[in-house]
């Protein structure tokens, strides 16, 4: 794991003090990569999820899908070799792996909506204890809305992983009893990867499977302002 441990944070106003460490973004991405079975078809959302690709050894045969019509997406090109006709869903230049293919948006979203993707990994503003996801609209009524393929991915992929920091910059938990931001889809999330823990969404609520060294389930509950269950394995950041 590429983890470079970072110091925990202190938010005096909210009284949340971490004694533990947390995973950096690279380590978070690497942790998700470990859970992707060899040979899976996977869509990685814009932002941090895109970086999971860096942790997927090509020998594992994981095939990356991009909703703008690509299967077998490869890494960014060498500098100077960008092709404006070959971009990912984040509109960044990428390459095509051998054996990749191009297709139109109708077929691309058939793959998504039709349940052909084994896994998609999305970012989140909020995830509820029921697995509801809010990741497209920050709630401000005057905001310019934009949804892209998030709603299709959330309902379509066989398993939906969320990869996100545990707390917002303002120190609020992204794990919530009920989403206050507009939903992307209800009950769609299977697993949540944060900088502090790996958490499953189960019919009995959120169950913590792994927790970063130095944290206790109690502390995690406190900063999450939620009752989290589980008997988590303690893992290195």
């Amino acid at each position: 794991m590429h983890a470079r441990a970072q110091a925990g944070w202190v938010d005096g106003e909210r009284g949340m003090t971490s004694l533990g460490l947390r995973r950096d973004r690279s380590a978070m991405a690497a942790r998700v990569a470990r859970d992707i079975p060899n040979g899976s078809y996977v869509n990685l959302g814009i932002g941090l999820p895109t970086r999971i690709a860096e942790h997927l050894n090509p020998e594992r045969g994981v095939v990356l899908h991009s909703e703008n019509g690509i299967l077998g997406m490869g890494p960014p090109p060498e500098p100077g070799n960008a092709d404006p006709d070959l971009i990912n869903a984040g509109k960044e230049p990428i390459t095509l792996m051998r054996g990749g293919s191009f297709f139109d948006h109708a077929l691309s979203f058939s793959m998504i909506r039709g349940g052909h993707l084994d896994i998609c990994v999305l970012g989140a503003f909020q995830v509820s204890i029921a697995g509801d996801l809010a990741n497209w609209h920050a709630g401000a009524e005057d905001a310019i809305p934009a949804v892209g393929g998030a709603m299709d991915l959330a309902i379509g992929a066989r398993r939906v992983f969320v990869l996100t920091e545990h707390l917002t910059r303002a120190g609020e938990s992204k794990l919530v009893e009920k989403c206050t931001y507009p939903l992307t889809a209800a009950g769609c999330v299977d697993r949540i990867y944060t900088d502090l823990a790996v958490i499953d969404v189960t019919p009995e609520g959120l169950v913590v499977r792994e927790i970063v060294q130095g944290w206790t389930l109690g502390e995690l509950c406190r900063i999450s302002r939620l009752k989290l269950r589980g008997n988590p394995v303690e893992v290195a950041p």
């Binding site: 814009i46 991009s66 909703e67 703008n68 019509g69 690509i70 960008a82 092709d83 404006p84 006709d85 070959l86 971009i87 869903a89 984040g90 509109k91 960044e92 230049p93 095509l96 191009f102 297709f103 139109d104 948006h105 109708a106 691309s108 979203f109 998504i112 909506r113 609209h137 005057d142 905001a143 310019i144 809305p145 934009a146 949804v147 892209g148 393929g149 998030a150 709603m151 299709d152 309902i155 379509g156 507009p182 939903l183 992307t184 889809a185 209800a186």
Partner: protein, 232 residues
């Protein structure tokens, strides 16, 4: 046999009248028919309804069309981008109507128009604020929304090769919305990088058969758009 290839972009956009609904291909700048959009601006049609994945960026392409105040309404999945300031300003000023459509639903609604499907049910958007005003239905225990086709008067798309019959191939991820949009308009207009002779395109590799294409124009110079956009 008459050819579908027209002389220039002005001829290509001829007859596009004010009040038209126009599908515009592209995802970001890949597949965006920039020269056709410029010609549409010069053509002068206004009060347009535009259907495209994005609402323009910078001051080019769809953003330029918006800035020229030709667009009454836009249907798209991702209007907000780091440099979508033209759309943003019009939207905040209440000077453009927005119908936000999830990307897959946008593609499928356009396909439905082209395929003669009256309406369809999808799980996408069920239980969200984009479901407002839409009929819903539980199918196999899962909530679905009823979505309607998006028919258009014109489609402006960019392809790679064309022949005089209007058969098209595309290039890499510039294919995106082109093939579905080509099916859904009364008049589909394709700008292409090169026109080849009849019989030069492999019948197995033609992506858009000529039945869906009315006019073809060759625009060799391809814009090299920057990589500044940041989101889908």
């Amino acid at each position: 046999m008459s050819s579908k290839v027209v002389a220039d972009v002005e001829a290509a956009v001829g007859g596009i009248e004010s009040g038209s609904t126009i599908l515009i291909g592209g995802f970001g700048s890949a597949g965006l028919p920039s020269e056709l959009i410029d010609a549409l601006i010069a053509n002068g049609a206004s009060d347009l309804t535009i259907v495209s994945n994005n609402a323009g960026n910078g001051e080019q392409g769809i953003a330029a069309l918006l800035q020229a105040r030709r667009v009454r309404k836009i249907l798209c999945s991702f209007p907000r981008q780091s440099d979508s300031f033209v759309f943003d300003a019009l939207y905040r000023a209440g000077e453009i109507e927005l119908e936000l459509v999830p990307q897959g639903t946008l593609a499928e609604r356009i396909r439905a128009a082209g395929a003669g499907i009256g309406a369809f049910y999808t799980q996408t958007g069920f239980g969200t604020r984009l479901a407002q005003g839409k009929e819903s239905r539980i199918i196999d225990g899962k909530g679905h929304l009823l979505e309607h086709p998006i028919h258009a008067d014109f489609a402006l798309i960019r392809a790679e090769l064309a022949d005089p019959l209007g058969n098209l191939t595309y290039r890499k991820s510039a294919r995106n919305f082109g093939p579905v949009m080509a099916t859904a308009a009364r008049c589909t207009i394709a700008q292409v990088s090169r026109v080849v002779g009849i019989g030069e395109l492999d019948p197995e590799a033609i992506v858009t058969p000529g039945i869906f294409v009315r006019r073809v124009v060759c625009t060799r110079g391809r814009r090299q758009a920057g990589w500044t956009e940041s989101a889908a």
